[in-house]
């Protein structure tokens, strides 16, 4: 609901041209994000950060020749040779303006022409003592564990738990969520531990704690162990062994398969999609204790969702990936990249129709979800056909609200236990009962 509310504030925004003024305002960019949907912030910040990635040294006062390639609209006005890109739709105007301020800031830094320097970048240019300060530690660990991504993972696991056709057990729910969260923290920390030099070279990831030396690798590993071991133990002992096993497997898949594979083969995307699909399955098995068709369907929905989401995102990061040595479809097999995104959007429609067949939801679900699924499929088709920056961004931002909305609709259409017992009533009383938001 929270996601949906924020994401509803749609509108096309263009950043004003007075970027000097904007640059000053941008000084408190990070703090203002607190007000917005953290999901939006995470993705938009990260995504937009890439747009001005440059291989050329930053301190060059000569305008880096090829940064134009990554520009947003306002920089178009400054540099004339760029092919016009259609205005990017940003759901939150302030998010957009803050982000584009950063873009302009980065451009300005490169040119060395605009004086105001962001507080953070000034700090960045100083030598720092590598001593761990305890009051910084929570922030550092939050960034190490990618706390926002973890929160999203936990929410998909909760969705899995909520969709399970059993009476709701609060303790089990909390234990499962906590265990999943800890496992996710551990996996993310190990991922960052493995990727330090690569993260340094990508704009999106260069402010990570290990890259900045705010924490030692040893501490990162210890943190990962101290999250992972209790997390998995909690899942195995406090919930059930199946969930624990799935959690451990997911950590392994993410850290030992996906992370190294990113640099070896494009198949990493499929492995990554499985990693994303497992948390809701874990939520389901936490509730029911068994791995049944409903769990797999939920997993399947999340698996399919990963493709439009990631492929659209990676379309704008091709330069970074190429330079960093990452094997991604968007770089090596661009046609496949777009085809797969489209294919999986269409698969989402099919999977949504499967939900009532498996008795997970009522038939209202495929009906209500059809518009959203069709919309994302349409954007995926546009991405497939146009293969440009704007269509990839549209698809990416759509995927951000598409998933929470789909899960929410699924939950509201969940077949109540009473309905299930009283099969005869299915056709009659369904619609009335199905639309209640149930938390049994």
């Amino acid at each position: 609901g929270l996601f949906v509310w924020h994401l509803r504030n749609t509108g096309i925004r263009q950043v004003p041209c007075q970027f000097v003024h904007l640059c000053r305002v941008a000084n408190d960019r990070l703090v203002t994000f607190q007000y917005f949907n953290f999901l939006k912030r995470m993705y938009v910040t990260q995504y937009n950060k890439d747009l001005s990635q440059r291989a050329k040294p930053k301190s060059d006062s000569v305008a880096s020749p090829f940064r134009e390639l990554q520009q947003l609209d306002q920089e178009k006005k400054v540099i004339h040779k760029i092919r016009p890109i259609s205005p990017v739709h940003q759901p939150l105007s302030e998010t957009l303006s803050r982000n584009e301020l950063r873009e302009v800031k980065s451009a300005a830094e490169t040119e060395g022409s605009v004086a105001p320097v962001r507080a953070e970048s000034k700090e960045d240019r100083q030598w720092k003592e590598m001593k761990l300060r305890l009051d910084d530690l929570p922030g550092i660990l939050a960034r190490l564990s990618k706390i926002k991504l973890t929160a999203l993972v936990v929410s998909t696991a909760s969705a899995g738990f909520a969709m399970a056709p059993v009476p709701f057990d609060l303790t089990c729910f909390l234990l499962a969520s906590l265990g999943t969260g800890l496992a996710s923290c551990a996996a993310n920390s190990i991922n960052q531990f493995f990727e330090v030099p690569f993260d340094s070279n990508m704009n999106r990831t260069k402010n990570r704690p290990l890259v900045r030396g705010q924490i030692s690798p040893l501490l990162a590993v210890c943190f990962a162990a101290s999250c992972g071991v209790p997390g998995i133990a909690l899942l195995t002992l406090g919930v059930n062994p199946l969930t624990g096993a799935l959690g451990a497997f997911n950590i392994f898949l993410y850290t030992c398969c996906y992370t190294p594979m990113k640099r070896m083969s494009i198949a990493n995307t499929w492995v990554g999609a499985v990693v994303g699909a497992i948390p809701p399955v874990m939520g389901w098995t936490a509730a029911t204790g068994t791995l049944d068709a409903g769990a797999l369907l939920l997993g399947g929905i999340l698996y399919s969702w990963q493709f439009p989401h990631f492929n659209a995102l990676s379309w704008g990061l091709r330069e970074d990936y190429s330079r960093g040595g990452y094997c991604m479809m968007s770089v090596t097999h661009p046609g496949l990249c777009r085809r797969v995104a489209l294919r999986h959007c269409l698969a989402l429609i099919g999977l949504s129709t499967l939900a009532p067949v498996l008795d997970m939801t009522t038939w209202t679900f495929p009906v209500i979800s059809l518009p959203i699924n069709l919309y994302i499929s349409y954007l995926a088709f546009r991405f497939y056909r146009d293969a440009d920056r704007s269509s990839s961004r549209k698809l990416f931002f759509c995927s951000l609200w598409h998933l929470p909305m789909l899960l929410l609709v699924m939950f509201t259409c969940k077949k109540s236990l009473l309905d299930k017992e009283d099969k005869g009533d299915l056709l009659g009383g369904d619609h009335g009962r199905a639309m209640e938001i149930r938390l049994p």
């Binding site: 590598m130 030396g213 040595g325």
Partner: protein, 147 residues
């Protein structure tokens, strides 16, 4: 970094490699284990720096060459009337990115193996040093309590 500091210092990202250099503190009574750790870290740092500086420079250079050749093929100049450098759009650059990635694949594989090995060794040594220091501190504590 100040002379009296007892810690390592980390600096801003290097211009070419984007990696942050670390100046290591050498304690007066550095144990052989600690020296091994420091040397391993220094070596890794030097190796990483060499690799990425060279790699990034090659990327920039090849990118320029690619753009130049493409612009030439299109019959355009490198700079337009206002003096701004001409560029190609993302779709045209995509060919270059794909090419560059596949050309450097073997290099990256070698570097990955190297990096993972070094990373594990350094972290393991860090663990050993931390353990040794902890034991030393406990022994010192016991001695002081005894006194």
């Amino acid at each position: 970094p100040p002379a009296h500091s007892c810690n390592d210092w980390i600096g801003p990202p290097d211009k070419h490699s984007n990696l942050r250099p670390v100046i290591f503190y050498v304690p007066p009574e550095e144990s052989p284990l600690e020296r091994r750790l420091r040397e391993a870290r220094q070596e890794a740092q030097a190796c990483n720096q060499r690799f990425w500086a060279r790699h990034n420079r090659a990327f920039c250079q090849e990118k320029e060459e690619f753009i130049y050749s493409r612009l030439k093929a299109k019959g355009l100049e490198m700079r337009d009337e206002t003096g701004q450098k001409a560029t190609l759009n993302a779709e045209e650059m995509a060919d270059f990115y794909k090419d560059f990635l596949s050309k450097n694949f073997r290099k990256h594989m070698q570097y990955n193996r190297d990096w993972y090995k070094r990373n594990f060794t350094i972290t393991f040594l860090m663990g050993q040093v931390a353990l040794a220091r902890a034991l030393r501190w406990l022994r010192w504590k016991k001695k002081n309590v005894g006194n």
